[in-house]
Structure formats: structure tokens, C-alpha cells
Amino acid sequence: MKGLKISKKNLLIIAIVVALFIILGSLIPGFLSIKNLLNIVRQSSIIAIVACGMTMVIIIKGIDLSVTGVLSFCAMVNGLLLLKGWPIPLAMLAGLAVGTLMGLFNGLMVEKLGIPAFITTLVVGNVGGGLALLLNAGKSIGGFPAPYVFMGNGTILGVPVSNYIMILFVVVTSILMSKTRLGVYIYAMGGNETVVKQQGISTATINFFVYGFSGFCIAMAGILLSGQLDTVHPTQGEPYQLDAIAACVIGGVSMLGGEGKVYFALIGALIIGVQRNALNLLGIHPFYQNIFVGIIIIVIVALNIHQKRRTIEHSKIF
């Protein structure tokens, strides 16, 4: 019964997206080509993966501003090790470990010292960014082993590998959020922290997990990106910080905490991707693109909120 309802929902979304694409396609030459569509998803995959962790963080009323730095730093660690001839899995593991650790550090600051996530993540991000530059004297590195590049750029059955990885992340995360205790606790913490404490659930565990996981996702995004570019650039994280947050919020994750679904965050990421892509295909002058992006963000969020308000109004007793 419930399952049916959900699948209905998805059908609806898919229907809308398809409709949207047809219209866009008719407006924009080359937009509807399978190549381009897969292309969009591939470009969105980085944002989407970061958004997986970000969704959790925002749900517990936090924010993770360490993306820029951590993303670059982890990729740099991983990349340098690869060039040192480490086997790919080990190098990636190292990169992911670094990201997770930086995330855990954020968790520590938030949990033990009560430092606002906003500021600790911001600063940790700066440090990460600095280290990324430091590691290779600000130079980019490249020329990675073929299988590694394949992960970022190759395709299986015509679909980019990145997309599979992204799907994997989104699915795993949303199962974690909806089907496990931890997931419930994360929502609970976003809803009412005191209750969580009174139930004897350790907020430390939650904070550490959420920020650690966010760091993990960021690291993964960074590694995947360096695969896509066959390069690690010491500042390659720059564009993804705000995009990831925007993706979550456009996807209806409430900045007030307690609400949000990873699936919708993915949609948010795709909306951003589609929009950027379409703007480029339309050949709109870069100056106007900024204005456009801004308007879209505000409008969509405004609509979300308006929608929520309406539903609350209706749920009144009489």
C-alpha cells in the first residue's frame, strides 16, 4: 500500500521531469540528445554526492561549509598517492579517510565545544584548502592510471560510471535515512534534541556520524571529480560549496532542520545541472547566467515554503 503510494509519487516526478525536458528540448537544439542528458547527470553527480551528506547535516540543523577545501584536499591526497604508485583502492581509501576525519573533527567541535557548525566547517574548509595548495606547491597533478580515469569518464552500457556511483550514494543514503535507527535518530535530533538526549541516545554518535559522513561524501566527490578531469586541481572544490547547499534547499530540505529527503536533494542537483547546461546551450552571456541562477534558487525555495505553509494551514482543526 505504502510502497504503491511512493512509486506513484516517483512516477509523478518522472512525468514532470520528462514533460519539462520535452519542452526544453523543443526550445534548445541538442538539449534532448541522450549524450547531453547523460552529460548533465554526470556533471550533476559531484553536486549530488556532496548533497547526500549535506542533506543529513542540514537535517540536524547544521551546515557544512568545508566542501571547497576538503573536496580539493582529499582529491589531492588521493592523487599524489596514485602518482606515487599506490594501488587505486588504497589511494582512494586514504583520500576518503582524510575527508571522514576532517568531518569527524567538525563533529567534535560541534558536539564537545558547542561551536556552531557554520563557523567550524568554514574554518576547517579553509585549512583543507590551504593544505591542498601546500601539498603540491599549488600545482595541479594529472596523468592517472586508466582504470581510475575510467571511473570518472568511462561508460558502462553507454551510461557514465559516475552516474552509477552517484545513484549508489543516493540509494544507500536514503535507505540509511528511512530504514535504519540512525536515520530515525538523525531526524529526531533535527526535530527535538532534548528528547533524543532523554531517550539516552548519544547526540555525540549522531553528530560524529553525520559530519563524518558528510566529509566522506565530499571526499568521494573530490576523488570522482579528479577522475572526471584526470587531474587534481588544488582549488577544484570551489564551485561545489554553494551548489550543494542550493541543491538540498531546492530539493525541499528545510534549513530549520528535521525535514528533507535525499531523493529530492538529487532532484535539486539535477535542476541546477539542467539549468546550467541549458543556459550554456542557449549561449546566454555569462553575466546574465548569474542573475538567472540567483532568481531560480530564490523562486523555487519560495515556492517550496509557500507550499508548506498552505499544507500547515489546511491541517488546522476546524
Binding site: G191, N192, V195, V196, Q198, G200, F318
Partner: protein, 503 residues
């Protein structure tokens, strides 16, 4: 003779500084040398004024805060709880006064929070829903465990809270004013539950200010005053005045007094106001020097009416006349300037800014009047605040004290002080005595009477029939968002009669 399962001796708790650190060596203490014990299968009622230390004592039992001195024995063995989880593990459940639920989760998730049913790695939602539904039904409540707690009424939320605690098989259950927001029928159900809990050998510690309840369910009554243990009496020799005197340390005169005179001038007149699209229009008026009671069940729309008048809620059509002038939709600030004020039922969310000091809160509504040139005169402010503190004898160590370190009763007095400073002409009081002790109550009743005799018009929303009956010159009864009845003849002011209109 039932055997004692929980015993507390010489419990002492010092007051906190603003960072929650205990201030030892000060004479003022929250609890001092308190004794308390619970026997098997009894309902032990704990009474006392606000700030008497009831909640603190319970928090110690519940493992939420530790005692600074003294010992606690469970089954004769000394024990300390590191946290609420531990006390729960020892079979002590705590139903809190303010709701402890996650509004963004559904009923079942709230009930099972922290001990979800697992199927391998994943939570087993299906069985949780069925179990939750059973629990609710067993206790006679038909609430869908799938509904988000946010969408429940306050009363329903309170019930979920109770069910949640009951679902742990506890030996001792602490109920801190569980009936505060329940309707009559729900209260009856709760009492039924309490009775068969006792039958099953479970003990209940029950905190309440509603004496009519105590007789119904209590076995023993323990009285605290100013953080000290005063005494324990069996329900058999329960005597209203005796308990009162134990609580307040002196015999109390008549709770309600009416020295005020109703005048002819109509201050507030509401014509055809609908509080929502599909409710009947409301008509009512309040005259100068008149106390009008507004009775009705929780959720009958009394608060909505109050807020509609006070420009804090959208209503649907109708006019609101204050001294013959339309004030509908005005901003609270303009209304306050005109002398219209609304004292919210929700002290913590709408009444006070808990993180700010007494004086800041007291002067908040009068800033414009006190400092027309916007420059704050701190000296004057202090004087004014101190006056209010003395006048309403608020228990606080300074005007700088942060409000969330005050007891509920004192917080309520701060709110009252705030409104008195605006020298109002029309007072809308929403549950002015909710969750505050007899002494504070009678003081607030005095103030209401004084204001009325100064010609202030008062509309008093209350769920406590005694106070409605005791205070009002006229009574409106609300039902499903509309006025169900108007009682003008004091001889009609009888609990049963009013209830009959509400149901």
C-alpha cells in the same frame, strides 16, 4: 503495609549560576534536606507552590539532574542515575510537563524512539505501527500511529507522551501535571489508566495543582515548600485547608474576591467574527470593570479568538470594536498603545524571551512609552523592575536574572508584570494561572480584581471551572469555534451547567 521501593533522604540541590553550575555556599537552595518515599502500588501525590522544588526533585529521580547532597535508595540499595536512560532502565518512567516529542516524526516513531524494533539491520516499521496502534487502543485512544505528531492536537500529543512512557514497563511512573492540557473525557481515561496501573502493582508519583483530582486518585500526599519537606498525609485525612496551609505556610483567605463594579461602557465588542472559514460567527462584548469568563474545552477556539483580537492570527470576516473603534488586523504594538493586551497561554513561546533578563522582559512591552526618545534609561528601568518584583513578590536574586532560570510561577508573574507596566484598559488573559501554585494563583486573582475595580475590562480564558466561576461576572462558553452559551445569572454559574454547554 505496602513495602517502600524508593526512598530519598536529605536530598539537597543548590541553585545554578547562569551556566548551570551549582552555587554552593549560598543560603538559597532549590532543595534542602528533602525526604521522599514511594510505596509499592500507590499513587503518591506531590504538591507545593511553584519553585517549591517538585519538578527538581522529580528530575533527580528521573536521572535528568544529579542531587548535590543526600542519598537515594531503590529497594533499599543506594543508587545514582547518570542519565534518564539509567533511571528508565531501573523501571522509572517520567511523563514531563512540557511535551517531549519530535513533532517531525510520526506517533509510532516517537513511542519507540531509542528502542526501535529491528529486522536484521533495518527497523521493522510494520510491527512498530501495529504495536503502537494496539497500545493506543488498549488505553482507549484512537490515534493513527502513522500521523505526524505535528498534526495532532496538544491533548493528543500529551496522550502520545503518556503512552510512550507507559510502553516501557515501569515500576514507578512520574506524572508532572499530565492533565494540564487534557479535556474532561481524556482526563477520565487517564485516571482509569492510573487506577489499573496501581492495580497491577505500579507506583505513580503525581504532581498536580488541581485539588479536585487528588481526592480521586491519590493515596498519599507529600507537601514541599520552598525546597523543604513539610510533611506527608494519607488521603483519608485529606483536608483542603490543611494542605493549603502546609503549602503556603498560612491559612489562605477566600481565593476569589470581587470588590470590582461593572460599569456600562462597552470596551470590547466582537461582531460576527469567524475564527475559520467554516465556523459560526462569534458575537461578544466586555464592559469596563467587568471580568468575563471564556470557558470551553481545549481546542474549542478560545485561544484562536484571543489571538484574532490581538492581531496575531488571521480571522475570516466580522468586526472587532474597541471603545467603538475598529481594531481588527492592527499590529499588536498599536493595540498595546491603545491599551489592549493579550496574555498568552504559552509562556515559553509567546509570553517571555527566556534568554533575557527579568527587567528586559518586564519593560519589553513598554519600551516605546518609557523611552519615547529611544534612549534607554537603565537606572529608571531597574527601579521599575524592582517595584514589580516587590509588588508581585517574584522570587529572584536580581532584576538581571535570566528568565529561564526562574520557576514557572515566577515566570508567569514576570509576564503579568510586563503587561501591568503597559497600564492596559482591556486585558485578554489566556489561562492566566496555568501550571502555577495556589499562592501565586490567589495573588493573580487579586490583581485581576484590582484592575477590574480600576475600570479595566477583562476577558479571561480558562479551563479551570472554579476560577471561571469564582472570578467572572459573566461567562461565555465556546464550542467548536463558536459561542455555545452566555451565562449572565450568577446562579447559573455551576460546573455541571457550564460543562453541559461545552460538551
Amino acid at each position: 503495609m505496602k513495602k517502600t521501593i524508593l526512598e530519598m533522604n536529605a536530598i539537597t540541590k543548590f541553585i545554578f549560576d547562569e551556566h548551570g553550575q551549582p552555587l554552593r555556599g549560598t543560603t538559597v537552595k532549590i532543595l534542602e534536606d528533602v525526604h521522599f518515599d514511594v510505596k509499592e502500588a500507590e499513587v503518591h501525590v506531590l504538591v507545593g507552590e511553584n519553585g517549591a522544588g517538585k519538578s527538581t526533585l522529580m528530575k533527580i529521580i528521573g536521572g535528568i539532574i544529579p542531587a548535590d547532597e543526600g542519598e537515594m535508595l531503590l529497594d533499599g540499595e543506594v543508587i545514582t542515575f547518570a542519565g534518564p536512560r539509567e533511571s528508565l532502565a531501573h523501571g522509572i518512567g517520567f511523563i514531563h510537563q512540557e511535551l517531549n516529542l519530535c513533532l517531525n516524526l510520526d506517533v509510532a516513531q516517537n513511542i519507540f524512539l531509542g528502542r526501535e524494533r529491528q529486522k536484521k539491520l533495518f527497523i521493522d516499521k510494520a510491527s512498530m505501527y501495529t504495536e503502537a496502534r494496539e497500545m493506543l487502543l488498549r488505553l482507549g485512544f484512537d490515534i493513527d500511529p502513522k500521523t505526524m505528531v505535528r498534526d495532532l492536537s496538544t491533548a493528543q500529543q500529551q496522550i502520545v507522551e503518556i503512552v510512550k512512557v507507559l510502553s516501557y514497563d515501569c515500576r514507578i511512573i512520574i506524572m508532572d501535571e499530565p492533565t494540564a492540557s487534557l479535556t474532561k473525557s481524556e482526563i477520565d481515561k487517564l485516571f482509569a489508566i492510573i487506577h489499573d496501573l496501581r492495580r497491577n502493582g505500579i507506583s505513580i508519583i503525581y504532581i498536580s495543582h488541581r485539588f479536585e483530582e487528588l481526592k480521586e486518585i491519590g493515596d498519599r500526599i507529600t507537601v514541599l515548600r520552598d525546597g523543604r519537606y513539610i510533611g506527608t498525609v494519607d488521603i483519608e485525612d485529606f483536608d483542603y485547608d490543611k494542605i493549603i496551609s502546609m503549602m503556603v505556610g498560612r491559612k489562605l483567605g477566600a481565593m476569589f474576591q470581587s470588590s470590582h463594579q461593572v460599569q456600562d461602557e462597552v470596551v470590547l465588542e466582537v461582531k460576527g467574527l469567524r475564527i475559520s472559514r467554516n465556523t459560526e460567527p462569534i458575537n461578544l462584548y466586555v464592559r469596563s470593570g467587568e471580568v468575563v469568563g471564556l470557558s470551553g474545552l481545549v481546542g474549542a477556539g478560545r485561544t484562536e479568538l484571543g489571538k484574532s483580537i490581538f492581531g496575531s492570527r488571521t480571522y475570516y470576516g466580522g468586526e472587532i470594536l474597541y471603545m467603538g473603534e475598529e481594531i481588527g488586523g492592527l499590529h499588536p504594538s498599536n493595540l498595546i498603545e491603545k491599551g489592549v493586551i493579550y496574555l498568552s497561554e504559552d509562556r515559553k513561546l509567546e509570553g517571555l524571551v527566556l534568554d533575557m533578563s527579568l527587567k528586559d522582559n518586564m519593560t519589553m512591552a513598554s519600551l516605546k512609552r518609557m523611552y519615547p526618545k529611544t534612549k534607554i534609561d537603565f537606572k529608571r528601568e531597574e527601579v521599575v523592575a524592582q517595584e514589580s518584583i516587590d509588588k508581585l513578590n517574584i522570587v529572584a536574586n536580581s532584576v538581571e536574572q535570566i528568565c529561564n532560570t526562574l520557576s514557572g510561577g515566577n515566570q508567569q508573574k514576570v509576564v503579568v508584570a510586563k503587561w501591568l507596566l503597559t497600564n492596559p484598559k482591556l486585558l485578554i488573559l489566556d489561562e492566566p494561572t496555568r501550571g502555577i501554585d495556589v499562592n501565586a494563583k490567589s495573588e493573580i486573582y487579586k490583581i485581576i480584581d484590582q484592575l477590574a475595580s480600576q475600570g479595566v475590562a477583562i476577558l479571561m480564558i480558562s479551563s479551570e471551572l472554579p476560577e471561571i466561576i469564582g472570578m467572572s461576572d459573566r461567562i461565555y462558553v465556546m464550542k467548536r469555534g463558536a459561542i455555545a452559551a452566555e451565562l449572565t445569572d450568577k446562579r447559573e454559574f455551576i460546573q455541571e451547567k457550564i460543562l453541559s454547554h461545552t460538551l
